[in-house]
């Protein structure tokens, strides 16, 4: 593993205390970095405002999807029961919406739930197993008890020592290079 060729793609700073991380994040945001992220074992309160991340749209879109589900339910049950093949049942009208209400509610919840799950995967950029954190050995610590800030090289105003200086200035004592190994061969699969 070690002799494989690798290249440095950024710098990572690790903290032991969540509040220190929040203060460092404010510094980084003020320094104008855009392509950077914090990695924490559990959601840290205040980190979003510190990083300047807007509130997640998952709630809004989920609700809209719910209403879409409601519309589908009204359309599906109504069209099938009253127009597609009108069948008389128990003296009730063909479009007896009162009796369809439970299905309206269920499809509302179903569509909302599916959309929310989809959004978490999409917006949270899940479903991507490869990450430089693995190669640089930071992942085990971040998912256990330590807090990290990662500054990527692809950021426009990134330079190696400016980043290291910024992290040191925020009181980070454990600064490591972010490395990524090359593929053994370039076959597609």
């Amino acid at each position: 593993m070690s002799e494989l060729r690798h290249k440095q793609v950024g710098v990572a700073g690790l903290y032991d205390d969540p509040s220190a991380l929040v203060r460092a994040a404010v510094e980084v945001r003020r320094a104008g970095y855009t392509r950077w992220d914090c990695h924490t074992p559990y959601p840290v309160h205040g980190l979003d405002t510190a990083m300047g991340i807007p509130e997640s749209p998952v709630g809004g879109i989920g609700l809209l999807a719910g209403f879409a589900g409601l519309g589908t339910a009204i359309g599906l049950t109504g069209w099938l029961s009253a127009w597609h093949y009108p069948i008389h049942i128990g003296g009730k009208p063909l479009f007896s919406w009162q009796a369809f209400v439970p299905i309206y509610f269920e499809l509302f919840v179903l569509f909302a739930g599916l959309t929310v799950m989809g959004l978490v995967f999409a917006l949270g950029r899940l479903g991507r197993w490869h990450s430089p954190l693995h190669d640089s050995g930071i992942m085990p610590e971040v998912t256990c008890d330590r807090f990290a800030i990662v500054l990527e090289a692809s950021d426009p105003n990134y330079s190696e020592d400016a980043a290291r200086a910024l992290l040191a200035q925020t009181g980070c004592r454990d600064i490591r290079p972010l490395i990524e190994y090359e593929e053994e061969d370039d076959a597609f699969l």
Binding site: I87, I89, G90, G91, K92
Partner: protein
């Protein structure tokens, strides 16, 4: 091949060929027909694979369970008659030759095979109606258990060999005895004489176990001439029935029912003008007639003669004897006085009928009474030529047979099973040659040296003479299915061989020619074709009344009767009669009209007697009479006289088919004639005691009390005349309110039914008619016990009033086709929907079997195929032919219910629409309506104001069951009107009066559906359905 062989090939082969063509039968149901029956009757390899594929499909939740649709074939005839179009029904007239009474029949055949039997409308006796036995006769035709070829001992033989062997003995036979049933047609009697003439010492004996010999013997002694009195209930205003179940098993019940219902008719338009007859029943057993009586008294058979003598004395002014008798036997004085008063005031319009099984002195007393009331000529008609021959005395037959005869020929009788007192086998073994000729291989045929298979009535030519001046014919609907021959044909064949060459008997090719010859002789001016087309012919004959020999009657009446502590009465079983229909699964599963018991017979005793004997339902009783002893399970029937046990014939048979063996029961023949050989079915000196052991009796209805619920409503004539709409006061209807706008049925038809409870006698004919029309399965005793019988219409019986002598209320209950159908709302797959014409439809192929519709039906009229009940019947090439091709056969896991015979509605609608007309009232007759002897069921279009059902809907007596649920049922019931004597008042409790308060939950049935610990040891047919017993085994509270 031989002519016989060709005919047989023609019928069975043709049927089997047609079975694979789509043209004829839609019998094929959801499983493919190629599942040929496995040789050993078990599951065939292909069927097992089919089932495993279904199971794996369900478990794999992947592959669809559908099976390949079989490739099917159209069989185009080489040459065919124009009138026979595949799928179109043809109707032929015939006669019920194998039944207790030869009723006229109208048989529907499709593609050359009979599928439905109904009454012949032109027949004066049953006028188009039929009973359960007539309807079920079709199943006995397609019965694989029938004897299929001649047998010598255990191995089969050909007819040629059989004839040769028999004739060889007959040639040198000196003494020949032929035993037959009592219902022989005139041509058969002529043929028998022709045959017996050949032998020096030949005797013809008539053997019946369920006969009315005492009554006929009494009349013969009193009037000196052979004949019978025919009661005219429509002309009678007062009827006193002394243990005579004339609506049930005593005589031609169809004619009696039609007349009785006419006499009870109520004039809805003008209630004041209603002239109803009044029926008093003085009975020991609770019978169908008793349940329809206005007043019912319970009396022991031994006291019947004394009661009639007391009545006669009371009519002449001396009321003391009647009063003493009433006290001694616990009769209600008011009712006794009412009888006397009524008889005195309706001289010439009154009638006394006595049960055929009672001793001769009762009939003498009844004859005296009828003459005092000058009934003969008014309410009694004399018939010099009864349908049945007089029955031979068993002692005489035994005397002849015990000396040993050269040849004993038994035609259609089963004495080994039902010989009075048993022991016929010994007599039979004395005969050198014993020949049994019957449809099934009964106990007798098993004992005979030769067992010859008979044709079923629907495969034979015959004629019948039900009454003087009346002749009807029986013609085959199908070529014989098996290698069988008609009994008369055998006699003819043997006579021809025995006869010397130039004898005229040799001119007849076969029995059909002989029959034509007989008809030509008696009816010279009528052609053979018209006889067959109408099926019945009336010649008006004037019958003079016989003169009444008072001294002989006096002598007969004085015969004194000595009674023991217990008495017993043996009646023919309501469905299987004397055992001849025991292999008919429909009849075995038909609930008894009174006790609702199926698949068994038992000793009916009253609740008080049961308590005295310390007996619960199902406990064994030891019944001993003059040395013979029987173990019979006890059945508690309220209304039976105390200290009287009522037994039924027809069960406990040991051979004759799979259904016979499944039925079980006890053979009561050993008790016949033990007490008084002249009245074999009435035992006056009997000891009854509790015996060890139990037998589980199965009832389809277990709770009989109304709990004050307005399910059945009836009223007295006075109530009705006071207020024709008295029904409204008998129940409380909330204000009708609908959440949704009700569906508009005004356009097109609105099919509704009206059931006139005043006419319905509770005879169950509708149940078998429905079963025959709609391919309804038989489930067997075990499944009935679990409450899974499949009848689409049932007759519920509720008891009210005094628990010892209750009033019974019969109510036919079927799908009500509700407008707000609770079953339709809850079906998840749209399997049950509502047609714009008011029918609640059931699409069997769409049903997945959640059973919520059955749970949600307040009337519980839906039936579920818990097991593949139809599989066996479908895979048997013969039984499969009994199905009606117009109705789908349902698979396992599918719900089914009454469809108001939608196949008949559609047929009538299509025919009318093709002609561009509308469906006329009466064009659609449901199967139950067509069979109902009382014509109590009326079906039609309620949107047509002129239709009969619309008129009945407007009657004041109309009510609907559970109307307060607002499910809007479409079956209108018309309240029953009882006609109690003004002096007595509402002796027979109305459905509504005191009962609602009394807490007696008339559940006399055994602890409900639950096998007893004792029975668990009994072989349970499937290992996985072993039941466990509740800790609270006795829970039987209100």
């Amino acid at each position: 091949m031989s002519e016989q062989e060709k005919r047989r090939y023609h019928s069975l082969e043709y049927m089997r060929r047609l079975q694979t063509s789509a043209l004829s039968t839609h019998v094929e149901n959801l499983t493919s027909p190629e599942d040929a029956a496995a040789p050993d009757g078990g599951i065939s390899r292909r069927e097992l694979l089919g089932r495993i594929s279904k199971a794996s499909a369900a478990l794999a939740i992947g592959a669809t369970g559908c099976e390949r649709k079989p490739r099917r074939v159209i069989v185009s005839r080489a040459e065919g008659p124009e009138y026979q179009q595949p799928g179109k029904a043809l109707h032929y007239a015939s006669t019920f030759t194998e039944g207790p009474f030869p009723y006229g029949l109208n048989i529907k055949t499709v593609d050359g095979r009979p599928i439905k039997i109904d009454g012949n409308p032109d027949h004066p006796i049953n006028g188009g109606v039929s009973n359960a036995q007539v309807q079920a006769w079709i199943l006995s035709l397609y019965d694989p258990d029938r004897l299929q070829s001649p047998m010598r001992g255990e191995e089969t033989a050909s007819w040629a060999k059989a004839d040769a062997a028999i004739v060889e003995v007959l040639k040198s036979a000196a003494s020949v005895v032929v035993m037959t049933r009592s219902t022989l047609g005139p041509s058969e009697r002529a043929m028998l004489e022709e045959f017996l003439r050949r032998f020096p010492r030949a005797r013809h004996f008539v053997h019946e176990s369920a006969h009315d010999a005492p009554r006929r013997a009494a009349w013969r002694k009193i009037y000196g001439v052979e004949g019978e009195w025919l009661p005219r209930f429509d002309a009678a205003e007062i009827i006193v029935s002394v243990d005579a179940d004339f609506l049930g098993v005593d005589g031609p019940s169809l004619e009696h029912t039609r007349q009785f219902v006419q006499a009870r008719a109520v004039n809805d338009a003008d209630p004041a003008a209603t002239a109803m007859c009044r029926l008093y029943a003085v009975e020991s057993a609770m019978t169908l007639t008793g349940s329809n009586a206005d007043h019912r008294l319970r009396l022991r058979p031994s006291a019947m003669a004394a009661f009639l003598r007391a009545l006669r004395a009371a009519l002449r002014g001396d009321a003391m004897r009647l009063r003493r008798l009433a006290e001694e036997h616990g009769l209600d004085e008011r009712v006794a006085d009412a009888i006397v008063d009524d008889l005195r005031r309706h001289r010439g319009g009154a009638l006394v009928v006595a049960g055929g099984h009672l001793p001769e002195n009762v009939h003498a007393a009844a004859a005296f009474l009828n003459h005092d009331l000058d009934a003969p000529g008014n309410t009694l008609e004399w018939n010099p030529q009864p349908a049945t021959l007089p029955v031979s005395a068993p002692s005489e037959v035994a005397a002849v047979l015990s000396q040993g005869v050269d040849a004993l020929i038994l035609l259609g009788v089963n004495p080994v099973y039902d010989w009075p007192g048993g022991g016929f086998e010994a007599l039979l073994s004395k005969a050198a040659l014993s020949v049994g000729h019957d449809v099934y291989r009964t106990e007798t045929l098993a004992a005979c040296s030769w067992a010859l298979p008979s044709n079923h009535g629907l495969e034979s030519w015959n004629d019948a003479a039900p009454r003087a001046g009346l002749r009807s014919w029986c013609q085959p609907m199908i070529a014989p299915l098996f290698d069988t021959r008609q009994e008369a044909e055998s006699l003819l064949r043997w006579t021809q061989i025995l006869a010397d060459p130039d004898d005229t008997i040799r001119h007849f090719g076969d029995w059909h020619d002989y029959l034509k010859h007989q008809v030509a002789q008696t009816f010279a001016d009528v052609s053979w074709e018209t006889c067959l087309r109408t099926g019945v012919l009336r010649t008006d004959t004037h019958t003079a009344l016989p003169d009444f020999d008072a001294t002989a009657a006096e002598a007969l009446e004085q015969q004194e009767t000595v009674a023991g502590s217990f008495e017993a009465v043996i009646l023919p079983h309501y469905a299987v009669h004397d055992g001849r229909f025991a292999n008919n699964a429909w009849l075995q599963e038909l609930p008894d009209p009174i006790s609702k018991m199926v698949w068994d017979n038992a000793a009916a005793i009253s609740p008080k007697t049961a308590a005295a004997l310390g007996v619960r339902e199902g406990d064994m009783l030891r019944i001993a009479a003059n040395g013979t002893e029987l173990r019979v399970p006890a059945l508690i029937v309220p209304g039976t006289m105390d200290q009287v046990a009522v037994l039924t014939l027809g069960h406990g048979r040991s051979a004759g088919g799979e259904v016979v063996l499944a039925a079980g029961g006890v053979n009561v023949a050993p008790l016949l004639g033990r007490d008084n050989p002249h009245a074999p079915r009435t035992l006056l000196r009997v000891e009854v005691s509790k015996d060890s052991g139990r037998r589980r009796l199965v009832r389809t209805q277990q709770a009989f009390a109304l709990h004050g619920r307005p399910i059945v409503i009836d009223g007295t004539l006075a109530e009705f005349q006071a207020d024709p709409a008295f029904v409204e006061h008998k129940r409380h209807l909330p204000r009708e309110a609908d959440l949704y706008a009700p569906f508009d049925y005004s356009k097109g038809h609105k099919w509704e039914m009206a059931i006139n409870l005043n006419a319905c006698t509770g005879c169950n004919a509708c149940m078998i008619a429905c079963q025959a029309e709609n391919n309804i399965a038989v489930v067997g005793r075990e499944e009935c016990d679990r409450g899974r019988d499949m009848h689409w219409i049932r007759v519920d019986r509720y008891l009210t009033g005094d628990p010892e002598n209750p009033a019974a209320h019969h109510q036919p209950m079927l799908c009500q086709h509700c407008d707000n159908a609770p079953c339709e709302n809850v079906c998840p797959v749209n399997a049950t929907t509502h047609s714009p014409e008011g029918l609640n439809e059931m699409a069997y192929n769409r049903c997945v079997g959640t059973r919520y519709c059955s749970n949600n039906c307040p009337y519980k009229v839906r039936r579920f195929n818990f097991r593949a009940y139809q599989d066996k019947m479908l895979r048997d090439p013969v039984q499969e032919l009994a199905h009606n091709p117009q109705v789908t056969v349902r698979d396992v896991g599918v719900m089914e219910k009454c469809t108001f015979c939608v196949q008949r509605i559609n047929a009538a609608k299509f025919a009318a629409r093709n002609r561009g007309e509308n469906v006329k009232d009466g064009a659609v007759r449901t199967a139950c309506q067509e069979a109902c002897p009382a014509q109590a069921i009326v079906f039609g279009d309620a949107n047509d104001p002129e239709s009969l059902v619309a008129k009945l809907k407007r009657s004041g007596r109309r009510f609907r069951v559970l109307e307060e649920l607002n499910v809007k049922p479409n079956v209108n019931y018309l309240a029953r009107i009882r006609n109690p004597h003004p002096g007595v008042g509402d002796a027979a409790e109305s459905a509504h009066a005191k009962d609602s308060k009394d807490k007696v939950d008339m559940v006399y049935a055994q602890a409900p559906v639950r096998p007893d610990p004792i029975n668990v040891a009994a072989p349970v047919n499937s290992v996985h359905s072993v039941h466990f017993v509740h800790p609270n085994n006795e829970g039987q509270s209100a």
